[in-house]
Amino acid sequence: MEFLNAVFVAPFLDIADSPVFFAEVVIGGLMSGVMYSLVALGFVLIFKASGVFNYAQGAMVLFAALTLVGAMEKGAPLWLALLIALGVMVALAFAVERFMLRKLINQEGIILFMATIGLNFVLEGAGQIAFGSDVKRLDVGLPDNSFEVGGILFNTFDLSAAFIGAAMVTTLALFFQFTPMGRALRAVADDHQAALSVGIPLKTIWVVVWSVAGAVALVAGIMWGAKAGVQFSLVLIALKALPVLILGGFTSVPGAIVGGLIIGVGEKVAEVYWGPTFGGAIEGWFAYMLALAFLLFRPQGLFGEKIIERV
């Protein structure tokens, strides 16, 4: 009885009791959601264009952030360091296409997935050889102050992250929807051989899309790295992006952002209001359960392309 009360009654009374705090929880969730989307976006881009579930996305985030910090430690100003990091990610895209994807054209998804696992090991090793395994402080000059509006606490860093995330998603969504390049990307995602046969330059597309994903990884690395320092744990944020991915759909750029927001708000509300009843730290699995619940109704994710099967 007490348990039922704690699950079905008390949290709602609590919400009604202090709507300001509830609003704060929701806003906090939205902010975290944007941070998840930033990581999820990288996955979506690559999956969309090459049908590869890129396990190495987390390692790419780490690698990009390490390059940036490494360049700054050597005395490069921020703009130069950004350019260098971007350049390295583009070079990586070329290397991946040349040495990996080109040789695995038209293989099954799971084989390509496994290949990115190999890439993941390489990046983790190379990143640490080049820049060490220590934690590094990253300060890109974004303001980090807190202020209260109507009892709700805002943080300027979170706000800028949200703004950057939103801007990036909008740009990418428009790019995919309305440019010839975007259309070509979508064609490649459907079928490598068919795309080749209608004259789409597969190699160029892949280089472009991995470069864009590298740039997204850099932004995600900056945002997460500024929060917790640039260190190996950045690799693990990929796990935070997975529920976002399945909820939003592997193939949808807007899906990544909407999924991120839903997961962010959902897990924060669950943790704050229901967490204590279950003993806390439920957000880890709750995000997956939430995504799973959505999938039962839409097996391709909220915005994913509908799966049509024919015999």
Binding site: F53, F99, M100, K103, L104, Q107, E108, G109, I110, I111, F113, M114, A115, I117, G118, L119, N120, F121, V122, L123, E124, G125, A126, Q128, I129, S133, L236, L239, L242, P243, L245, I246, F250, F278, G279, A281, I282, G284, W285, Y288, M289, A291, L292, L295, L296, P299, Q300, G301, I307, E309, R310, V311
Partner: protein, 359 residues
């Protein structure tokens, strides 16, 4: 010339449908098993058994389990670690609360418990497919580990939150707990792997296995020819989880001895087992074992090789180089042979048939 099947005539259906229809295969497998029982425990020292071979055997059993689900039935799962944890914790609860229970029986019951949990978390597979399902099984991974960590009942409320394998005997020989010798542990895990592999091999040749493959190749078509997706998919989840559950119980009881939920972590257990079956070959029992060998032995080889030939690098630099080489090997491997070690093995046999006089 070593692998010629010319002259081997099958005169009955039974012979034609034998697990290994070719005599060389039979001899080879028999030699491997006899060698594993009679030679390895005496040739290998404690380091080899305890640190290399036993974990390889146990993980190979789990890999067979996952291969049944992913390779044969086509359902990608990342919840392997969680199903193993179910087996381990069930076994811990049983052995500590019913001290007289035979430990091998406890292992098998743990497998059944894991199968039950597997069925529950397999339910979404009826609706969700491919990578979506893979990520959905992560819900099982995170939820189950959270539960075992949170609810004290699972670890008998001890303040340390860990489970420790109590000493148990089989035929008068201690096989679990700290006093068990490496050889005893080795024989237990080897026997479980051999029996598990034989059962799995026969399972996939029969009606169940064929219906799994039909579902894997195209579930709608399979449904049309009269295979029930519900039963078939759940059966795959149940049997796969059974294997994983037994492997999980062995993992703690026969190998680690003591652990917390972290031992079944996603990145340390679930993913590596998936790597094993991809590298080894999806849809191959032999491949699961070879993949497990590759993923467990290769890093150990890479760690120990350079110091042996006189190259002494700083610990961290060597580890990083190892990662790069290991990653590079995976990619190179997939490029050479995307279908895994099992396929490579097959090619080797074809070559051996003609060697040394190929056309």
């Amino acid at each position: 010339m070593f692998y010629r099947e010319a002259g081997q005539f099958k005169t009955s259906y039974n012979k034609d449908q034998a697990v290994f229809p070719i005599i060389q295969d039979r001899w080879f497998i028999a030699a491997v098993i006899i060698g594993a029982y009679a030679v390895v425990p005496f040739a290998a020292d404690e380091y080899w058994l305890q640190a290399v071979i036993i974990p390889f055997l146990i993980l190979a059993l789990a890999a067979i389990g996952l291969n049944l689900l992913t390779g044969y039935a086509g359902q990608v799962s990342l919840g392997t670690g969680a199903f193993m944890a179910v087996g381990a914790y069930a076994c811990y609860k049983m052995t500590t609360n019913i001290p007289d229970l035979n430990v091998v029986v406890a292992f098998l019951i743990s497998g059944v418990m894991a199968a039950a949990v597997g069925i529950v978390f397999g339910l979404p597979s009826l609706r969700i497919k491919g990578f979506y399902l893979a990520v959905a099984t992560l819900a099982a991974q995170f939820f189950i580990l959270w539960l075992f960590n949170k609810v004290g009942w699972f670890y008998n409320d001890n303040p340390s939150g860990t489970i420790t394998a109590p000493p148990r005997e089989l035929f008068g020989i201690t096989i679990t707990g700290p006093q068990a010798t490496a050889e005893a542990r080795y024989f237990v895990s080897l026997t479980f792997l051999v029996v598990g592999a034989i059962v799995a091999k026969n399972l996939v040749r029969g009606r169940i296995g064929r219906s799994w493959m039909a579902i894997r190749d195209m579930d709608i078509a399979a449904e049309i020819i009269g295979i029930r997706p519900l039963q078939t998919k759940l059966m795959a989840f149940a049997i796969s989880s059974f294997y994983c559950g037994v492997a999980g119980a062995l993992y703690i009881f026969v190998w680690l001895g003591s652990a917390e939920t972290e031992a079944f972590d996603l990145l340390q257990v679930s993913f590596p087992i998936l790597f094993m079956i991809i590298i080894g070959g999806l849809g191959s029992i032999m491949g699961s074992i070879m993949g497990a060998a590759f993923i467990t032995l290769m890093p150990i080889f890479l760690t120990n090789f350079p110091p042996m030939i006189g190259i002494h690098l700083a610990t961290d630099l060597q580890k990083h180089l190892e990662e790069i080489i290991f990653g590079g090997m995976i990619v190179a491997f997939l490029i050479v042979e995307p279908h895994g070690l099992a396929r490579l093995w097959q090619i080797a046999k074809e070559k051996l048939r003609l060697w040394p006089f190929p056309y």
